[in-house]
Assembly symmetry: C2
């Protein structure tokens, strides 16, 4: 299916028929998500594909029993995992070693800069010092202003996983199925159902299935582009 | 271009040739971005398309003079605007009125729930009370656990604008051009260049242009999908 048609076709669908969305459609969608760019290629994301009746029912409750969850035949839960940075840094360095890659700048980036950016200690205490240094240096020259706390690292990982989510939803659309991204859920309960640690964050839950025409609420509403787009 | 080919083709490109990326390619990419789903359809995003020499040079410095910025012939700056929630709430309510739409649930959602979710007062003081109430209620039933602070609202808006960014980057790719999402920039300086208030957040800066083959660093590296994908 054509790229632009796919994006046009995707609408948030709040009611699904009981036609099952096949596993290979879900897998292809997630694989397309994994092709999204992400911060420093650390891939701090996870995707839980929920189809079993028992877990789906628990998830539906945690999604506040909204129809986009209860009528969906599958849920994809996009998770941000800042706590995986160290283990993924090691995977990247192992990949470089396998390829005999030893570009100095890239090695410095992954060996020195990544820990500076991702490790802020309990209660982000280390991050406070980093922020102070950067603020001082920032008076005289451009400096990155984040992430200097664990929650700012969460935001970085959430951003990357959101990029993947857009690919996932479009890929579902390209395969003739429908989706609905949800942020109205009980994150604490979702993490408990998926057995996730407190450091994990739920980026969004995507209801997936075959859309019921009633599940799309009228024409797409976008305010005039002059509100959002500026040329400089 | 086929959807899946487009996503496959998109690679983060860190060096561009001096071939200008046409304005209509950029406009089409941004319009494709605006079709992304977003939280409560409040459209808390803005896209600054920078091509003028003077502003581009300032932006290049704020992007720490990285080649993905300096060699780009255009920069798209994706901005998250939590401060626009009230004005956009009014735009949505005006649209409902025009359409004689008065579904009680939807009106309640936009008139009552949206202010509860988006307005947290200076230093998020109101949000503290909201969080306390929700935490108490959450013992007995599922409750949303965020956003209850201004920075959590930022995260919601950042997430929506990231969804749009993925569409933008793919749309650039579908039109035969290339892009690079950047998070390494001086947010304070970018906001000052774009004349943005402190409440605005820069989601990312996307370098755009015609990719130089040297600008793509080898094969795409993704760890094994077993690291990220779980079926439940």
């Amino acid at each position: 299916m054509d790229f632009f048609q796919t994006v046009e076709k995707r609408r948030s669908t709040r009611k699904f028929t009981n036609e099952q969305i096949p596993k290979d459609v879900l897998d292809k969608a997630i694989d397309t998500g994994l092709l999204a760019p992400n911060s420093s290629n650390l891939q701090l994301w996870e995707f839980y594909c929920v189809t079993s009746k028992e877990i789906k029912e628990k998830m539906d409750l945690a999604c506040l029993s909204q129809p986009a969850a209860t009528t969906a035949t599958a849920l994809i839960v996009a998770v941000s995992r800042r706590d995986h940075w160290k283990q993924h840094q090691e995977l990247i360095l192992a990949d470089f070693e396998k390829k005999n890659m030893n570009d100095e700048k890239i090695m410095y980036y992954y060996k020195k800069l990544i820990p500076f950016v991702y490790a802020h200690g309990p209660l982000s205490i280390l991050g406070l010092f980093k922020r102070a240094i950067v603020t001082l240096m920032g008076f005289s020259r451009p400096m990155p202003r984040s992430p200097f706390s664990n929650s700012e690292v969460d935001t970085v990982a959430i951003k990357s996983s959101a990029l993947a989510c857009q690919n996932i939803m479009n890929a579902i659309s390209a395969q003739g199925f429908d989706s609905c991204p949800m942020e109205g859920f009980d994150e604490k309960r979702v993490k408990s159902i998926l057995n996730l640690p407190s450091k994990a964050r739920i980026t969004m839950v995507i209801g997936c299935g075959k859309g019921d025409p009633e599940g799309v609420y009228g024409e797409r509403v976008r305010f005039s582009r002059e509100n959002f787009v500026k040329h400089l």
